[in-house]
């Protein structure tokens, strides 16, 4: 089937959206942007394609009617099992690379001990893996680097202590190995993982086993359906580095404007807070950009700021918002300089301020900065759409909602859980237009 793909290569994450001929979203994929942009784009695209398969599974299974009532649970379980399969493969890969790197590192006499410790660390990681993907389990992030990294740090600190080894050495091995592992695309493995996951799901949900064939067949046929990459449009911060021709590239401003318009056709003002930039965009009723403003050469107040804070607090990015929501007051934070955020945080803590109150202040500081960029672009008009990774953060949303009301009165505020994909959706829509409206040939997308 024909697929139109938009890829938004951001500074921290890379997003992809796949839409079909009727412009319905088939799937969304996200990964952390890494040093290799091709890889990031491929992985995001692959993730979106996997999501598209799940979308098609759901449709096919619904049609088959075998899972009456239990469809959503089944799909959710299948997805978790698929993630676990993926995780285990990458973990095995990581173990192998780590092993190789211990041999190469100059640890001298300690090398043996480190190698032994690694075996123990990975044994524990493998054992606990299913709990990470159990129903209701909370993960700090969805990316392998983050999940594996945070667990590795925790487990290896314990292992090192028990073995009387230097913790630093274990960290070192991880640091030098992860980059290699995360830059690998496991494209060939997807089908296999899906099928393996299916078997796991039958185990997890034994009640479904009696319909095994009625389930397996439609799934197999979806797996066998070719998803054709009809047209790809790239956008985002790193778009210039995508291996696409100029025809296939649009500025992220246009894509965000269009993406927001597609999600909410009455959008007039769009705010996007990304990793390194904040964009305020004014669009007309056709989704055409009228004006825009971005932050300047200083990345203060961008999403990456929260990343630094999370590191500083030893928390996951997802956990910051909920903590800030517990605040009983808002500590005033004036510096939105990312690098100094940690220093400011420590300053406040040492003055006896509570973590949650400081968090609320930090979120407010980011949003204040965004409010200024919005004011620069001509203010907020109805309807107002908030997109980007930070839009998922409830504390940021709360601060924004309050400030918008104070400064612009009541208006419609659109925030979508999928808003991080806005730029990619715009890109996919441009791809769709190129073929369906402008009759562009589905020329080859990626040069070698």
């Amino acid at each position: 089937m024909k697929c139109f793909i938009g890829i938004d290569l951001g500074s921290t994450t890379t997003k992809a959206v796949v839409i079909d001929e009727s412009r319905s979203v088939l799937g969304r994929g996200i990964t952390n942007s890494r040093s290799n942009y091709d890889t990031a784009a491929s992985i995001a695209k692959q993730e979106a394609m996997v999501a598209a398969r799940f979308h098609l599974f759901r449709e096919a299974l619904a049609k088959g009617g075998a899972l009456n009532g239990g469809l959503e649970d089944f799909i959710a379980q299948l997805e978790r099992d698929f993630r676990l399969e993926q995780f285990l493969e990458q973990l095995a890969d990581l173990e192998q690379v780590c092993g190789r790197n211990v041999a190469n590192a100059r640890f001298g006499d300690a090398a043996k001990g480190v190698a032994a410790a690694l075996v123990e660390v990975f044994k524990r990681l493998r054992e606990e893996a299913p709990t990470l993907f159990a129903p209701g389990a909370k993960r700090k992030s969805d990316f392998f680097r983050d999940i594996a990294g945070s667990r590795y740090l925790a487990v290896s600190e314990q292992v090192a202590k028990d073995a009387g080894l230097r913790y630093d050495m274990l960290l070192n091995v991880f640091d030098r190995s992860i980059i290699e592992v995360e830059n690998r695309v496991y494209a060939d493995a997807v089908k296999g993982h899906l099928l393996d996951a299916l078997e796991r799901t039958f185990v997890a949900l034994p009640g479904t086993r009696k319909f095994a064939e009625k389930i397996r067949n439609p799934i197999q046929s979806v797996i066998d359906t070719a998803l054709e990459e009809t047209y790809v449009v790239g956008t985002g911060y790193g778009r210039a580095r995508l291996p696409f021709s100029k025809e296939h590239i649009r500025s992220e401003i246009l894509c965000h404007g269009l993406g927001a318009h597609v999600m909410y056709p009455s959008t007039a003002t769009v705010l996007d807070i990304g990793g390194q930039d904040t964009k305020a965009i004014q669009v007309d009723k056709h989704g055409i950009v009228e004006s825009f403003q971005m932050n300047d050469r200083c990345a203060a107040g961008c999403g990456r700021y929260l990343g630094y804070i999370a590191d500083e607090m030893n928390m996951g990015l997802h956990e910051l918002g909920p903590l800030a929501m517990k605040a009983t007051k808002t500590v005033r934070i004036n510096s939105t300089c990312t690098v100094f955020a940690g220093a400011e945080l420590r300053d406040r803590l040492s003055l006896g301020e509570k973590r949650e109150d400081i968090m609320a202040g930090l979120h407010r500081a980011i949003i204040l900065r965004a409010m200024s960029i919005l004011a620069r672009s001509g203010g907020i008009r109805n309807e107002f759409t908030f997109t980007g990774g930070v839009a998922k953060n409830e504390a940021a949303v709360k601060a924004l909602t309050g400030l918008v009301r104070e400064n612009y009165g009541e208006l419609t505020l659109n925030i979508n859980p999928d808003s991080i994909y806005t730029g990619a959706l715009g890109g996919a829509t441009f791809a769709w237009r190129a073929v369906m409206e402008e009759g562009k040939a589905a020329e080859h997308r990626e040069a070698a």
Partner: protein, 393 residues
Amino acid sequence: MSTKENRVTEIISRCSALFEDLEFGAVKKWKAAAPGRKAIGYMPVYVPHEIVHAAGMLPVGIFGGGDQLEVIQGDAYYQSYICRIPRSTVELGLTGRLDCLDGMLFPSTCDVIRNLSGMWQIMFKNKYVRYVDVPQDYDDAVGGQFYIHEMQQIREDLGKLAGRPVTDEALRASIVVYNAHRKAIRDLYAYRAAKPWQAPTAEVYLLLRAGCVLPPEEHTRLVHDYLAACETQQRPKRDNARVVVTGPFCEQPPLGLIKSIEMSGCYIVDDEFMLAFRWLMDEVEETGDPMQALSKAFLHRSAQSSSKYDARKEDKGRFLLHQVKSRGAEGVVFAAPSFCDPALLERPMLQEILARHKIPYTAFKYAENTGQMAPIREQAGTFADSIKLWSAA
């Protein structure tokens, strides 16, 4: 209850309330006390307050928004490499907090404040706005004549605004009021330099800031009261280094920064805060042609600051050296607002002169909303340490 001991606290908490009131309640109250009263704002650095006063109006010092104002709209007008004060001032204006002002005077400080005068004309079309150019030529016949013209224009404008011309009589009377005010401020500075532990700069600063929103007569009384109250109590004297703080002549540091300098072991014995009140260094002639008198005071007896031209090479740094010597300071702290062209361009010249006179100095930058005091404490603390631990060695 008003015992002698808490009179200081009383005065300072009043000043503190005035300082924190970003709604300018004191100005509104003054205006409401009699019908038809008008208030004219001025930004830091010198404008002839006497003319505003003689027109029966209240001169109001607008010294930015400090660290308690959330700047949203103001930031929309300025790039990150422009100092803070214009953006917080724009914020004050756009949020209606300056509606109580009937006009604004923008002194000749630097290009940023100069441009702000034109922006104000566009943003606040119904208000009286004027850029006050001061001569950089100090001859009575050349710069003086131009300056008198400039002041004359303001005098006529304000006369129109007031509905009656500003008479020479009124101007002379205002000169007398301001001479008394300047005298009070000079006394305050002399007192602090003599007993810095009795009049900490955080207090002196708040007291000065009260002068932004109070009529000069009332502020003069307040300064006298404070000085009298200070003498009634003994405060502990600490082993601190005596320093002159130079640089903050326009955008003001947060109060926390002033406290941090003191906490890290420095007594501030002279400074450039609120230089607007001390611009004319001694008494202005109270008889004769008042415009001539004001012009002469400006041309020949006004403070040296980085926003002013030094006609001769040998004039550079004289004022600062005088501050150091006359106040018995042991060192100089250059505290300049980030991106402040006048202060930062002046700094190397002054430092060279201090080095020549073997006066130690340290330097850092701040913004009116600086939140992190640790680097400030570290630098001021090391400076104080090095003076204290080693001065006898």
